[in-house]
């Protein structure tokens, strides 16, 4: 194995290539057209552009990926996660093309790919599973669900990542949930098959990282708690799971190893369990690939999981035995998404104008500055992972790291993540899969403070040409449209005066704010407000200013001079002939109710017809012309008596 093609994009493509490069392998990237300048492409030794933008045309197109491997001389393929990573057909195709597949054997992928088959196999092997069933028709599924008893979870048989998944508490909602889950499953995985499973509530999502080599060795690298999820997608993961003792860890680890053995697994995999508050756990599914959240395991074990994958792919043995593996300290990962948490987690796209990350924590980022966040792919921007001697120090470090992370140009969930990490229930380690449902409302949206507005005003009014005297005697009124990613974007009126010594005096309502600015580096400023110097990051694009401080990200612009909508000019009701001509059509009669813009009279002049319209709504009075009449320019044809207030024009 000399050259590895990574059939993926974003942070995971970079992550894989970094280890590959460190170990001396050549790296080949693939990319869609919009990703042409993405960081993973810039990093790779070689890259192949796949024509098109959508995932289906590019990162999901097996034939083109194989062509790319062939033409670039790659002899191995790493699928990353998502896309084709759990596609047995792709794995087989790679193997058939003579490529090394850095992943489990196709049969193992297949065994776990169908949830209903996987459940059956695991139950048979004595792995604890929740009551559940699969069925071909929705009627049968409803019957199974009713037999199991609500609450139940409806899931796509072929799925993962929360797609096609519905929690149903009321049997009456079963039919609708099945229809919509099936639709989503079909569009996401091309397969609408569903399973139903007893829902365990409250429960924690705890998963075990396992590794198996082709020589029959299997081990686990401890667990990860991934309970904090929104829409069944994880946002915070940690290892070890809080409150899990060594015996439970061992029991779950052994169960996971047994799962791997049952399907002759080879490579990196993750066995997901639901853990009840009675410490009983149930097999959920197995992910036959590297997980997004693998870095927390790497930090507590001190191992490089991608390096292990490469060793196993080359036929090597597991580098360590189970008893050589130990966990040290605590790691927590937060996923930074381009999404608006306070607007229903709506995915965002845009351009990252400023990207800064602290250098004392691990950051796996797929973005750079500047770079476009495309609406075509997953909105994951980066993973920020902190490690500490215990959970509390890891948590503190992660909060501090997020506070100093800057991603300007699109709305992100940065502040939301901080909110989760600071929530007392999270602090206490009381996490469960319904954490966001239960506590999401308690996470206060970022608060726009007057000092942010004052700073924004000062930044927007920064002189470009220092040759000019500062006009101390001029006060500039401003109207700032500010959006901090939560609630309705607000408009704020304020005024700004330069103080002649480089500072600004900003008046908001009746309060005065003095702002002094000092540039620090590109994109960073220090500003003094109320005697304290703060730091903020700034980016500009056209009239839009982006601003980040520890507690909020702000998009702001001055709309004071924005072009206005011309006031609809209601006429005076006098309808005059615009030109000398002959009335060829009369479209109204005395007393008619007309609306503004309605054609009333048509005049022919200079061999052209001119339609004369009502300049306001009302009643036609004083109609003084008839068809065929010759009229003079500016002759009054009729009048429109204004409609009474609240008339039919609205």
């Amino acid at each position: 194995m000399k050259s590895i093609l990574v059939a993926n994009r974003g942070e995971i493509a970079l992550r894989v290539m970094r280890t590959a490069r460190r170990l001396g392998y050549q790296t080949v990237a693939v990319c869609s057209e919009p990703d042409r300048d993405a960081p993973h492409v810039r990093f790779a030794d070689r890259f192949v552009v796949l024509a098109g933008a959508t995932a289906a045309e590019t990162y999901l197109d097996v034939e083109r990926l194989l062509d790319a491997a062939r033409s670039s001389g790659a002899d191995a393929v790493h699928p990353g996660y998502g896309f084709l990573s759990e596609n047995a057909a792709f794995a087989s195709a790679c193997l058939e093309a003579g490529l090394i597949w850095i992943g489990p054997p196709p049969a193992a992928i297949e065994a776990m790919g169908d949830k209903s088959r996987a459940r059956a196999a695991m139950a048979a092997a004595g792995i604890p599973c929740l009551p559940g069933a699969s069925a071909d028709s929705s009627e049968a599924l409803i019957a199974e669900a009713e037999r199991i008893g609500c609450p139940v979870m409806i899931k796509a048989a072929a799925g993962g990542g929360g797609k096609g998944m519905r929690l149903v508490s009321d049997p009456a909602e079963l039919a609708d949930a099945i229809v919509s889950a099936a639709r989503e499953a079909r569009s996401s995985f091309g397969d609408g098959a569903l399973i139903v499973e007893k829902a365990l509530e409250p429960a924690r999502h705890v998963e075990i990282q396992i590794f198996a080599d082709a020589h029959g060795n299997v081990c686990h690298l401890g667990e990860r708690d991934c309970s904090v999820q929104r829409r069944h997608q994880k946002i915070i993961e940690e290892s070890p799971a809080p409150g899990i003792d060594q015996s439970l860890r061992q029991a779950m680890g052994e169960a996971a190893v047994e799962v791997a053995r049952t399907i002759d697994y080879v490579g990196a995999g993750t066995v997901e369990f639901l853990l009840g508050d009675d410490d009983r756990f149930y097999f959920l599914e197995m992910n036959t690939r590297l997980q997004v959240e693998h870095p927390v395991t790497e930090l507590v074990t001190g191992l490089d999981l991608v390096a292990w994958q490469l060793t196993i792919a080359e036929g090597g043995k597991l580098p360590l035995t189970q008893d050589q593996i130990s966990l040290s300290g605590h790691a927590i990962e937060a996923r930074l998404y381009a999404e608006a948490p306070w607007r229903g987690f709506l995915p965002q796209s845009g351009e990252i104008l400023c990207w800064q990350v602290p250098d004392d924590v691990r950051v796996d980022a797929g973005i750079d500055q500047p770079c476009r966040v495309s609406p075509h792919y997953d909105p994951l921007l980066a993973k920020i992972i902190a490690h500490g001697p215990d959970r509390e120090s890891a948590r503190r470090s992660l909060i501090r790291a997020l506070a100093r992370t800057v991603a300007l140009g699109t709305v992100t969930n940065r502040c939301y993540l901080i909110g989760v990490l600071e929530h007392p229930e999270f602090v206490a380690g009381r996490v469960s899969t319904d954490f966001i449902e239960r506590h999401g409302e308690e996470l206060a949206p970022p608060v726009l403070k007057p000092r942010h507005l004052a700073l924004a005003a000062a930044l927007l009014e920064q002189p470009a040409d220092k040759r000019w005297p500062e006009a101390e005697r001029l006060t500039r009124p401003m109207r700032l449209a500010a959006d901090c990613g939560a609630g309705e974007p607000g408009e704020h009126s304020l005024s700004l005066r330069r103080t002649g010594d480089g500072g600004c005096q900003v008046q908001i309502d009746d309060a005065e704010y003095r702002i002094d600015l000092e540039p620090v580096a590109a994109g960073s400023v220090r500003y003094r407000h109320d005697g304290v110097w703060h730091r903020a990051c700034v980016a500009r694009k056209a009239d839009q200013l982006w601003l980040a401080d520890e507690q909020l990200d702000l998009a702001i612009s001055d709309i004071m001079l924005a072009p206005r909508q011309a006031a609809a000019e209601a006429g005076d009701g006098q309808v005059l002939a615009p030109i000398d001509g002959r009335v060829i059509a009369l479209a109204c009669a005395e007393g008619d109710q007309v609306t503004a813009g309605q054609v009333l009279v048509t005049i022919e002049a200079m061999k052209m017809e001119t339609a004369i319209r009502a300049d306001r709504a009302g009643k036609v009075v004083g109609l003084g012309v008839a068809e065929g009449d010759q009229v003079k320019s500016r002759q009054c044809l009729l009048r429109i008596e204004a409609a009474e207030s609240g008339s039919e024009d609205d």
Binding site: E461, D465, R467, P469, A471, R564
Partner: protein, 537 residues
């Protein structure tokens, strides 16, 4: 090129006394501006009610970020005509040079927050002055109009001369210098010709009034009942007469439109970027406040001022050994090379010939000239007369009057007698002229004038064989001294448009640098002139 070695001791009692005197002048100015601002703020409620912005807000909004603006003649008319207590100074307008869409423009805004923006004689002079600045420096003009028109109490001083405003507008247009006018309110009678003669006109809906006669006058003159909107509203002018090219919904909208229009021709009038690598003076500008003696009779070395306004404090002095009262030399300000002339006392015959020669040398190579006035005038006495002070002084005035390069004057101290002329005072038409707050200007000092009067009186009495009453003589002297002194202050001068504004000495370098680049860029700019200006056809 040598760096000027300063001999000022910023820790000395003299420096502290000088500084204290200067601070007092600055505080007086700040107080006047504060009172004007207060007066303007008093109008806020009325403007708010009408949905209008205050005139200064209009100007601030018009300018690029950071409000780059050199206000001109802000105290025109101070305690003159209808300005009783100084709180309505400014001649009814806010004027200056500012940056709009990256282009330097002359802005003239009616100050309708004060007396409805009515125009007094000094307001007219101010208007003409800023038009001249636009014409000489080839700068587009933006007018923000809302004015009750001429103050009829002074109609005799306004009517005939007022025509120049319109003639200038026509000439600016013909010269290829565009003018944008926003009509925010009344622009009636004579005021109606300002939009009429502008190249681009924006009127604010329901506020603009552009007509020769309003409803009462129309009723009186021809018995017609007509309302404001019909006679001269924005929508009437935009749809029927075509006097307005655009309608704005409110003041801010009109300013936004004016900026967008300005952008369409800004490229032609862009101010070249300041050259990089310009060295700042070695000595702090702050020290400019303590250089000029609190007692005007004490001499000062103008090299100390030069050291604090030119790049790197570097000054190549010309003929340093030939007359030590008139200082000439070469320096750069903001990267622009220029000749600098300053006074260290009266101008002698040698000083005059040296200055005249230096001016000619600068003209030979197209180098702008800076005059730092601090002179008691041309030297008098037998020796001076016999040295040909009249002849040589005349040559110097001739050189200044006919110089082909931009000349900028700053009154840093005294500006007395013909020294004012020889050092390019207002009458010699420098492109810009500013005054420090301590500066004094007059045909002679109050003390000298008093003594002259005393001598003349004594001589008259002597001829008549009368005794002079010493008390009466003292009274005459006192009266003359007081009158001349009160008419020599910077405020008295700036009220009468003898300068383009009183400046804080610390801003001298920045303002000179800006004005130099405006002059040089203006002279290099080629315009698309035409014969009659652009007319609405």
């Amino acid at each position: 090129m040598t760096v000027i070695e300063s001999r000022i001791a910023p820790g000395s009692p003299e420096f502290a006394a000088n500084r204290a005197a200067m601070d007092k002048h600055l505080a007086e100015l700040a107080d006047i501006h504060a009172r004007i601002a207060e007066r303007e703020q008093a109008a806020r409620e009325k403007f708010d009610r009408r949905g209008q912005l205050l005139p200064r807000e209009r100007v601030a909004l018009l300018l690029d970020p950071g409000a780059p603006f050199l206000e001109l003649c802000p105290l025109a008319g101070y305690r003159l005509h209808d300005d009783r207590d100084g709180s309505t100074a400014g001649g009814g307008s806010i004027a200056g040079i500012g940056l709009v869409a990256g282009m330097a423009v002359v802005v003239s805004a009616s100050n309708s927050a004060i007396k409805g923006g009515t125009v007094s004689p000094s307001g007219l002079q101010k208007g003409l002055r800023v038009q001249r600045i636009a014409l000489e420096n080839r700068l587009p003009m933006i007018n923000l109009i809302e004015s009750g028109g001429a103050n009829l109490n002074y109609q005799s001083e306004l009517f005939v001369e007022g025509a120049r405003t319109f003639a200038n507008q026509a000439r600016l247009s013909a010269a290829g210098i565009p003018q944008i006018t926003v009509v925010h309110g009344n622009a009636t009678a004579g005021g109606a010709y300002i939009p009429g003669l502008s190249d681009y006109v924006i009127m604010v809906r329901n506020r603009a009034r552009v007509y020769l006669a309003g409803p009462p006058l129309v009723k009186a003159a021809i018995g017609e009942d007509a309302d404001d909107e019909t006679l001269g509203g924005a929508s009437m002018h935009a749809s029927i007469t075509g006097t307005a090219e655009w309608i704005a919904e409110d003041d801010a909208d009109s300013i936004g439109q004016a900026r967008r229009i300005a952008k369409t021709f800004a490229g032609r009038f862009e101010l070249p970027a300041r050259p990089s690598g310009v060295a700042e003076p070695v000595y702090p500008a702050e020290e400019l406040l303590g250089i000029m003696p609190a007692d005007p009779r004490q001499p000062a070395d103008c090299r100390e001022i030069i050291a604090r306004i030119v790049d790197g404090s570097e000054f190549l002095e010309f003929k340093a050994g030939y007359d030590d009262k008139t200082i000439c030399g070469e320096a750069a300000i903001g990267g622009q090379r220029c000749g600098v002339l300053g006074n260290n006392g009266p101008i002698t015959a040698d000083g005059a010939t040296k200055a005249a020669q230096f001016i000619q040398l600068c003209c030979q190579v197209g180098k702008p000239l800076i005059y730092l006035q601090n002179t008691t005038g041309y030297m008098v006495g037998t020796e001076a007369e016999q040295a040909g002070i009249v002849k040589h002084g005349s040559k110097m005035i001739q050189a200044v009057a006919n110089a082909t390069v931009p000349q900028i004057t700053v009154l840093v101290g005294g500006s007395f007698g013909a020294g004012n002329y020889g050092m390019c005072g207002r009458g010699l038409d420098p492109r810009f002229i500013f005054a420090w707050p301590n500066s004094r200007i007059g045909v002679m000092g109050g003390e000298q004038a008093a003594r002259v009067m005393a001598i003349i009186t004594e001589a008259k009495h002597a001829r008549a064989g009368q005794e002079v009453n010493p008390q009466m003589l003292e009274m005459i002297q006192q009266q003359v001294r007081e009158k001349i002194d009160s008419e020599s202050t910077a405020l008295f001068a700036t009220a009468r448009l003898w300068d383009d504004g009183i400046i804080d000495p610390r801003d001298t370098r920045q303002i000179l640098s800006l004005c130099l680049s405006l002059c040089v860029a203006g002279d290099r700019r080629t315009l698309q002139s035409n014969t009659f200006g652009v007319a609405r056809l």
